[in-house]
């Protein structure tokens, strides 16, 4: 069972529709204590770094997620859900992220400031969700991107006014900056492989 974490923002419905389409059992997680039946967690994206962290703290989900990540249990953060895995974000100075990965999110330097559209994702190394290191298009909607302190966690890169981390991975914890649930066949394949990994 995949637990899809609801923090009031997020593109929860899109992600669930993709999982349903793939036949991957999933349920919405709104509070701590609801994760018991889950063997993987998915933190969807879209929203503001500060309000997302605030809501995750308020619902007491934050410590549950911390524990989950520390135990190296299967996890996928999408877009903002990936950025929240880092220490901080320029979007919300002073607000702490989960700090599972060292580094912070930064705005793009180029125009348009929001990256909206399909961009090539180059897998840096073979992994559970990218068995081969092919390049494929995924759909992005983001104004900030994570800058990992440790280059070794970068699983894939894209270029938007310079190279940035498209995906990060450590053990069974994954973060992707793009939206696989909106990335047609490539995105669905990725979610399917993550669900089976």
């Amino acid at each position: 069972m995949i637990g899809v974490i609801d923090y009031g923002a997020g593109n929860l419905h899109s992600v669930r529709k993709a999982l349903d389409y793939l036949g991957l059992a999933n349920s919405v997680i709104r509070a701590a204590g609801e994760t018991a039946a889950c063997d993987r967690l998915l933190l969807p994206g879209v929203g503001h770094f500060a309000s997302a962290m605030e809501r995750l703290q308020a619902s007491a989900m934050a410590p549950v997620l911390q524990e989950w990540l520390a135990a190296d249990r299967p996890f996928l953060g999408i877009c903002l859900g990936m950025q929240l895995l880092f220490s901080a974000s320029a979007e919300a100075p002073g607000v702490k992220g989960f700090g599972f990965f060292a580094g912070h999110a930064r705005p793009y330097a180029c125009r348009p400031r929001l990256q909206i559209g399909w961009n090539l994702v180059h897998a840096a190394r073979p992994s559970a969700i990218w068995p081969n290191t092919a390049s494929e298009y995924h759909y992005y909607v983001n104004g900030y991107h994570a800058v990992p302190a440790d280059r070794n966690i970068v699983a894939a890169v894209s270029d938007y006014g310079g190279e940035f981390a498209a995906a990060v991975q450590c053990g069974r914890v994954w973060g992707v900056q793009f939206h696989p649930e909106k990335s047609a066949a490539c995105g669905l394949d990725l979610l399917r492989r993550w669900g089976a990994s």
Partner: protein, 250 residues
């Protein structure tokens, strides 16, 4: 590098796609869900559903269509037509839309853009501008091009960006349905004035007219209706042609 998006646009009235529709590979012509599926399978980068019915019944039907389309189509979905309040927007986003396009409602109440952006994020808010040339200046029109608003198109695009729009859907009412090609000066004027993506709409009657919208007009995406619906071109044919002209496509 971001690929240029090809966005098929379905004009829907009470649950049926209207405008000259002649599809080769579809038995039931005019069903928005089937047409959406067909374009998705062809490799469309995004899909736009516009409710042109503007009646209560047509709007209710749209929520249901969005719900059904988003269950099986995994590309961004932009929905527009008749949206006036943050609650209207929320209903469609809940149903499965990723973005909403606001036109006349934003002209009547520009702060709607700010409220929508604050609530759902700029990435959800597409400002739709119908522009026409009048005495050498591009003016903005509302109500499907029937009412002149007094806004200059470039100034309104800038104001929309300031208020929080994440993209501009720019339609030339002079060229719409003409097949004469895009109004490249208008596109260039607006795309140079804002730092958000501009979607070109209105005027494309042949493949040759598409690349200039990007290469000369500065468009980030191309909204297409009749060129696709007439069945003359498919999405892959359009992309192959654009690539040959040096336009990056997925």
């Amino acid at each position: 590098m971001i690929a240029i998006r090809i966005i098929p646009c379905l004009d829907v009235d009470c649950g049926r796609v209207v405008k000259g529709v002649a599809f080769k590979d579809l038995r039931e012509v005019g069903d928005p869900v089937k047409m959406a599926r067909c374009y998705y399978q062809q490799g469309a980068d995004e899909l736009a559903l516009l409710d042109i019915g503007a009646t209560f019944r047509s709007r209710e039907t749209m929520v249901d269509i969005v719900e059904r389309v988003s269950r099986e189509i995994f590309i961004p979905l932009t929905v527009g037509g008749g949206l006036r309040t943050v609650e209207d927007i929320q209903r469609l986003l809940r149903a499965g839309a990723d973005k909403v396009s606001l036109g006349s409602a934003a002209l009547a109440d520009p702060q709607l853009l700010a409220r929508a952006a604050a609530r759902f994020g700029s990435q959800c808010v597409v400002l739709s501008i119908d522009a026409g040339l009048d005495n050498g200046a591009w003016r903005v029109y509302s109500h499907g091009g029937r009412r002149e608003t007094g806004w200059d198109a470039v100034a309104w695009a800038r104001r929309g960006e300031e208020l929080g729009a994440g993209e501009i859907l720019l339609n030339s009412i002079d060229r719409d349905g003409s097949g004469q090609g895009y109004d490249l000066d208008l596109l260039r004027g607006v795309s140079a004035a804002v730092a958000i993506p501009v979607i070109a709409s209105g005027g494309a009657g042949s493949l040759e007219q598409l690349a200039p919208a990007v290469l000369q007009g500065g468009a980030h995406a191309i909204l297409l209706a009749s060129l696709l619906h007439d069945g003359k071109q498919t999405v892959p044919e359009i992309k192959t042609f654009l690539r040959e002209q040096g336009v990056i496509c997925r």
